[in-house]
């Protein structure tokens, strides 16, 4: 962590918030959907959801339904949930298990778990028909640190390039072996970017988050990722608190292989475009933010713990869940007030302070990704 630098050293003087149309215009969201959400690698689930061959779940966003499955040979795969005959959606259940093949319920076209068409009743009488011309349409899929990412692009940037700054950086947290202990969803009447920007600064913590401010002072810590598509750093947990929980006590065994200094820190990163990762000594909570429309978003969040913390009498994630549920709701509310305000005709980009260097950097990454 010797590369950590104080936030203020990277403050870009004169940085201002984005113009109002970025938060309100359906046209901007349409462009973001094409340029970002249908193009980038997006988190879709933890890998534990498809543990065994034949397991699948549906990833349903941006007008698509994707079957993410582990095929018979154990390979992770993703297919569009669209029959090649007349386009029917084949799987309805949000998750399940294929015993050998995938069959369309309409006219019984049948596919292997690696996507090949293996049955098509009465099509043998159609001149020139060849089953090998009609495999399921595959989507790029990648597993990293126990997270599954999918892209809706046929040809996305290689995952290793997109995540290069953090690819090996988080190894000490052992994220790949954590297990999910809670999932919550929030409906927030705010543009998705306001939620990312809010996550990226703690200048608002003294007014918005009394509970959080007692554990994590807003001027503590430092950032180690100041520019680019992965941003963030750490904050210091004030003693005698052990973690960010409702009673200040640890709620599980340490998740990572950390030295004493790091064991008293909380790490906060955003992975462009829409993932936020919070690593605490004894648990992880992470978020993905999904636009519903330009002025409304769904936030999905899960809490992870070391497997040794799960199903014991000693440990319970309750204190971490309660703590962040409170803080999350405080954040969503102020994001909703921001949304209402930036929708005004008189709103003009306002000045960022030095303590808002990370949201300013996030805005730069966003504008670059949008080709502005």
């Amino acid at each position: 962590m010797t590369s950590f630098m104080r936030t203020t050293t990277t403050f870009v003087s004169g940085a201002r918030t984005l113009p109002g149309e970025y938060y309100c215009a359906p046209e901007v969201l349409a462009e973001e959907t094409e340029t970002l959400f249908r193009e980038r690698w997006l988190w879709v689930a933890r890998a534990e959801r498809v543990a065994k061959p034949g397991d699948y779940f549906l990833y349903e966003k941006f007008g698509e339904s994707i079957i993410v499955l582990r095929d018979k040979s154990g390979t992770l795969r993703a297919f569009y949930n669209v029959c090649r005959h007349r386009g029917t959606r084949m799987c309805e259940a949000a998750s399940g298990h294929f015993s050998g093949s995938i069959q369309c319920p309409y006219h019984a076209w049948t596919y292997s778990t690696d996507g090949r068409l293996i049955g098509a009743p009465h099509m043998q009488d159609a001149e020139g028909f060849d089953k090998s011309d009609y495999p399921l349409h595959a989507a790029p899929v990648q597993e990293w640190e126990g997270f599954i990412f999918v892209s809706l692009s046929d040809d996305p940037v290689p995952f290793a390039d997109a995540f290069a700054p953090v690819l090996d950086r988080l190894a000490r947290f052992n994220l790949d072996r954590l297990v999910t202990v809670e999932r919550r969803e929030y409906d927030v009447k705010a543009n998705w970017k306001l939620i990312l920007q809010n996550y990226n600064e703690c200048l608002h913590c003294p007014t918005i988050h009394p509970e959080l401010s007692r554990v994590l002072p807003y001027q503590s810590g430092a950032n180690d990722l100041h520019e680019g598509e992965q941003l963030g750093g750490y904050m210091e947990i004030t003693q005698p608190n052990q973690s960010a929980t409702s009673d200040g006590l640890a709620c599980g065994v340490p998740i990572g292989t950390l030295d004493a200094d790091e064991q008293r820190r909380a790490f906060y990163y955003t992975f462009f475009p829409n993932m936020m990762l919070s690593v605490h000594p004894d648990y992880v909570n992470y978020y993905s933010v999904w636009p519903v429309d330009a002025q409304r978003s769904i936030v999905v969040t899960e809490w992870l713990q070391h497997p040794d913390s799960v199903g014991t009498e000693t440990w319970s994630p309750k204190g971490a869940i309660e703590f962040w549920d409170t803080v999350n709701r405080q954040d969503w509310h102020i994001c909703e007030l921001s949304q209402l305000g930036v929708a005004s005709r008189v709103y003009r980009p306002g000045p960022f302070s030095p303590l808002e260097s990370i949201p300013a950097a996030w805005d730069r990454a966003y504008l670059a990704a949008m080709g502005r």
Copy 2:
């Protein structure tokens, strides 16, 4: 029936399903509304709804409200429900009876049942005002086989031309004297065309319709209308079933004047654009399909029987209603799955099999009607 030919003889090799925009794009529905739904003759009700002079009902579709009535002299008429003074909608009740005249509730302009303006308070003081300049706006209306059809076009193709292939073809079924015994409406989250296409083939019956398949084998029968705006044919009822009912027994007296062979058949026709007619030995069930938006439709269906079957202790339409309510719901569900799938960006037109020659012909009629 000597003109019946096997479906396979008319299979057009290489036929494929329509591109996705035809099922999803509001622009296509807007064009269909102009080109088809506001232009064509559409079924609106059975003639028994306006049995007596003065009887009326409202036909309310595509932004219009039409008063369909039988005038004082017994002539069937249709008028736009729009006062010529300030445009007020005059009739609110979905059906009723006019005792002599139609009066606007706003400023009391009054019309005869044949549409002439006969009263307009204080208008005599407006220079140049002449009541004969302000009759109600009439809509073309036609009765055929007991069905009432209305067009929202000022100048539609003559009804006899539009329905030429079937004008006299159904006479043996005595449709004009049947009476309505049940009406149901279904809300289907699918484009209207998917519902028509689904009706036009039984290749899906083995997987979707176990009850139907027991009575009507999907490869039985033949089509007699293979190309054009009226399409369809018959299927054979498997013995010992007498009809397509939940117990396989006839639920009424024979509706038509049929020979022994025809008495064991069920006839299925579509009348472009949005009517589907099912004729069974002892009852008729027919459907009209109405777009709500590009991805949602309302299906209105009624069951008809011979008057001798109605109000007796011997006969009840219950078995026919239950049977088709089950089959209908199976169809709507698979249409909804089709809608979800064809909305995907990766959906591409897929190949029709020889057993899907009638939906392929329907698509050709549709594209021709749309000027494609």
Copy 3:
């Protein structure tokens, strides 16, 4: 009142209702929003709502939230509810009291009640930042006859010019000292202009309003404002009725300083674009009409009385409220039927009678204001 002239003398021969798109097209409403609603002086509240320094209420229309307040020195002010930092909406409560300053809840930027930025944490470290560059954005605000008007334009026509025809004309009614005794809101599925046009004529009263017609004969009275943006006149209250109340009796002390003739009259005025003022001997009821979309409006109405009528055992506004609640609902219903009718493709502008000279004049004022 010697300038009063009979309506019929100003009837413009050949006047017709507006084309259908004016009542149905979202594009027309978008243009009206820019040209009329965001430009003109609009009623927002009675001045009694901000009686003391620090009192405020929110005026929230047309995508804006405006803080209307009486500042520390007693001056009436209006500010956009938008923090100059990151645009956050600052006040959430619909009304309240500021004790000295207005603080943004997000990062604690703080403003004086006259709009100056007086606190901005950590901004002192941002190069070139000067608090005086970031006052709240002010909106033009005006008080007249106890009514508060606000404009969303930065540079509206001076209020005294816009309201010149009525500026001193209503002095005898002592409107500025009346107090609000009731407020109601109605949701009407009709274009806002249909509601204004309906208010402007009583030709519909015999068919629509049996209760009103007994008290105020539709051909009684005269108009004194026949052309322009303020229109209207009076009707005669039929004896032995004292006022337009459910029992015909006065429900309060006289509001104005009127001679015996005027004490038996009811006055009805529209103030372009969206205010309607009804002055009765013993109470006032007034309305503002707010478009929700092209085919739907919210009507806000309040009843006012002389302060001597309020809180007494002798007087109660109940009879006036009940009377107009009944009449209002009759009006909204016929406006909704009008809306349905003018949405038809076959609707064409119809002819106005001489008794509809004021709606015809209103339409002319509207078209002029829209630059047609």
